[in-house]
């Protein structure tokens, strides 16, 4: 479980963040939530699908990195074999917290930057500092600030995108039957993608609206990204 602490100069003057990658820092995951805005960069390497959140049953956008929990086939020891790393992993161990008073809804207004103190990345001896000598934000912190706000707005947009394509009944279960190079077979259950026929059948206003909001492109990218699934299978030793 994460142990978030609100970020402040007072509390974290001497805190440093290890920016290395690898399993030791939580990169060994087989699924990572992503935003619709990341799609053009993700499609180069990853299959992007939708899954249902186990707690809420709501659809989420996710990349597939492996076939079982703990398996990231894009990770070779402490290096990613891809140029792009999903924002959700880039931002570790920073998180968005919300300072809400009674009756407030959590939102951009009351968002505050927090730090997961249980993360292996948090140190006082190694890594990059959070604050400079003069108390100003370090380049790392500036970068993280940008990533978190991009994640927040991207996540909102993704919700709208998923609600829209759900409303248009464009989501369908993806039948993913896998045969590994070893000959072993498995079925990847619980993943969903865009129904190409239904998307192609859209007309008029509905189509225009999707196009204007960039959702049409997002749908096409998601469908195209399924081609990366074969690469993922090939990576499985």
């Amino acid at each position: 479980m994460a142990r978030p602490e609100m970020l402040s100069l007072e509390a974290h003057k001497n805190t440093r963040i290890i920016t290395a990658r690898g399993a030791a820092y939580g990169d060994n995951v087989h699924m990572v939530p992503v935003t619709a805005r990341e799609l053009p960069r993700l499609v180069v390497d990853f299959p992007v699908v939708m899954i249902k959140n186990n707690e809420t049953g709501q659809f989420e956008l996710t990349v597939l990195l492996g076939f079982e929990p703990g398996e990231n086939l894009y990770l070779e020891d402490d290096k990613w074999t891809t140029r792009y790393i999903p924002l959700h992993l880039q931002r570790q161990p920073f998180m968005v917290g919300f300072q809400t008073r009674k009756g407030d809804d959590p939102g951009a207004k009351n968002a505050v930057m927090s730090l997961d103190m249980d993360s292996n990345r948090v140190s006082t001896t190694e890594g990059e500092p959070l604050f400079l000598e003069d108390g100003k934000k370090s380049p790392l912190l500036e970068r993280m600030d940008g990533i978190l706000s991009e994640l927040m707005s991207g996540t909102e947009l993704t919700k709208v995108f998923l609600a829209k394509i759900l409303e248009l009944e464009l989501i369908e279960p993806a039948q993913m039957d896998v045969t590994f190079p070893s000959g072993k077979k498995m079925r990847y259950d619980g993943v969903y993608t865009v129904n190409a026929e239904k998307l192609a059948a859209l007309e008029g206003e509905q189509l225009q609206e999707l196009h204007k909001r960039g959702f049409l492109q997002a749908c096409h990218i998601m469908m195209a990204s399924l081609g990366q699934f074969n690469k993922l299978i090939a990576r499985k030793k």
Binding site: K52, N54, E55, T56, G57, F59, L166, E169, P173
Partner: protein, 517 residues
């Protein structure tokens, strides 16, 4: 002369009326608006009976076919999941006496009969525990699915407990807004005949005469069209099923997060039994009893005693007394009128057959909808044959619950076992089952209501023994049975690990909704 059937008039707007309207409309609605013209007329002054709060799994398909979203239905009708029934104190009457009639079929039920294997070696498990996971799920109060399971799909077969009053309103809205059913709120003052004896129209106070080609009588116990107007006689089955009175009460939960039982609880009393149905917002509890075997005062006392552990002053809750006249009309479809719901008949709610009968009546009317008046008499005859058979099977099945009781505390139980009160059809099966395990061949009609599995659950739940035959079990069938019993253990473990609590899932559905896919 060939007269087409284009106008359907449904009289009465309880759950029977609206389920029938929705089922027919969903099947015969046409894009160009040229489908049937369906009118439902209901009195603004007649309250609905609204005690039918337990359903069968068939309700999922009934609602789905109407185009209802399960999420909306669950949220708006105070729905909770039902995974069968627990019968307490029916067999020996002792406090620890119970068995389950789950909704999940025994493992491999289409290919293997597990009863002989279980009778030979039960391994200390009840029949239902040995052959399906559901008794375990109910005992733990678990839901039959997860928040990620799509609408109407199940991990363990399920039905619903619902609020009949809000359910009627919910269906009314759906039928009028989505399915084009015309709703007339008015009192029917008169039924008008055509020359051939058909019903030509019904007169209303403010909307004049409503003419129709087919009339559907959903007027409840009154049976205004079929019983009163067309004079189709009523056949009582009080000589078989003695229960004739119900005392119904609505019971609040102790707190907002009190667990919700995910099954109906039926607890035998001196001269009847108490139903206990958990909705998401309250419980519906009622005592049904035989007035020939006990007094109302005693029945009230027992109801209070049943409620007392959880309710401080059960006597302060207001009870509704509902007379039950067990039985049914001798014909259900007469001339151009068919009765659905209480107007067709009613039995004690032991196996939630009331709404089930509404659903399968509506489905048969919709599926075999007569194109013209010439075809109608043939379809009516078929409908009558089918439903007489179905009523008989339901009566047999309800009676079965009483036959195997060993209770002697009241003449009610002793009288119930008197062979003179047992239908011949049931008596014959009981004789057969002493030597043969209930199996598909015993119920071979396409229109069966209860599968052989239901009889197995009740018989073996109540300690019935089928004698091993002189042929014994083959090594092959023994092996197959063993595999299925093992599979059941594995599946049970897996479901126990993954299913949420009944209330927990309902809360999530209220908050997030279920997906359609």
């Amino acid at each position: 002369m060939s007269s087409i059937i284009a106008r359907v008039v449904i009289v009465g707007g309880g759950t029977a009326g609206w389920i029938t309207a929705g089922t027919i409309a969903a099947q015969h609605q046409r894009e160009n608006g040229q489908g049937l013209e369906i009118t439902l007329v209901e009195s603004p002054n007649v309250p609905i009976i609204g005690v039918g709060e337990g359903t069968w799994p068939t309700m999922r398909n009934t609602l789905k076919k109407m185009g209802v979203r399960e999420t909306d239905f669950i949220r708006e009708c105070n729905v909770a999941f039902k995974q069968g029934a627990r019968f307490s104190r029916w067999h020996t009457g002792k406090p620890d006496d119970y068995y389950y009639h789950p909704l999940v079929l025994p493992q491999g039920f289409h290919t293997a009969n597990l009863a002989p294997q279980w009778l030979e070696d039960s391994a200390g498990l009840s029949f239902s525990k040995a052959v399906c996971p559901q008794e375990y799920l109910c005992e733990r109060g678990l839901a039959p699915k997860q928040i990620t399971t799509p609408e109407y799909a199940a991990l363990a077969n399920y039905a619903y407990h619902l609020n009949a009053g809000t359910f009627s309103k919910f269906l009314q809205k759906h039928c009028t807004e989505k399915l084009g059913v015309r709703h007339v709120l008015d009192d029917v003052t008169q039924v008008n005949s055509a020359a051939n004896g058909d019903i030509a129209s019904v007169s209303t106070k403010a909307h004049g005469d409503l003419a129709g080609d087919l009339f559907i009588d959903c007027t409840g116990f009154k049976s205004l069209l079929l019983g009163e107007h067309l004079g189709v006689p009523f056949r009582s089955c009080k000589d078989v099923l003695f229960v004739d009175t119900a005392l119904a009460v609505q019971v609040p939960y102790a707190s907002e997060d009190s667990p919700i039982a995910s099954h109906t609880i039926s607890t035998a009393q001196d001269a009847g039994w108490i139903w206990d149905i958990g909705l998401s917002t309250r419980r519906g509890v009622g005592h049904v009893y035989s007035s020939a075997h006990t007094t109302e005062e005693r029945a009230r006392e027992q109801l209070s005693a049943y409620l007392r552990p959880e309710v401080e002053n059960p006597d302060l809750l207001s009870t509704r007394k509902i007379p039950i006249n067990p039985g049914h009309r001798t014909r259900f479809w007469e001339k151009n009128c068919v009765a659905v719901g209480l107007s067709a008949g009613f039995l004690e709610p032991l196996e939630a057959s009331a709404l089930l009968l509404v659903e399968i009546s509506a489905a048969m009317i919709a599926e075999q909808f007569p194109v013209n008046r010439q075809a109608m008499d043939i379809i009516a005859r078929r409908f009558n044959d089918t439903f007489l058979y179905r009523w008989d099977r339901i009566i047999d099945f309800l009676k079965l619950h009483y036959l195997l009781s060993e209770r002697t505390d009241n003449a009610f139980w002793v009288d119930n076992r008197d062979p003179a009160s047992v239908p011949d059809s049931l008596q014959e099966l009981m004789t057969l089952w002493q030597y043969h395990h209930p199996w598909h061949d015993d119920f071979d009609r396409a229109v069966e209501v209860f599968p052989a599995a239901s009889y197995q659950y009740v018989l073996y739940g109540m300690g019935f023994k089928t004698e091993p035959g002189h042929l014994g079990m083959s090594g092959r069938s023994r092996e197959v049975a063993r595999q299925y019993l093992q599979r059941n253990e594995a599946q049970t473990r897996q479901l126990l690990d993954s299913l949420p609590g009944n209330r927990e899932l309902l809360n999530k559905i209220h908050k997030y909704g279920l997906q359609q896919i």
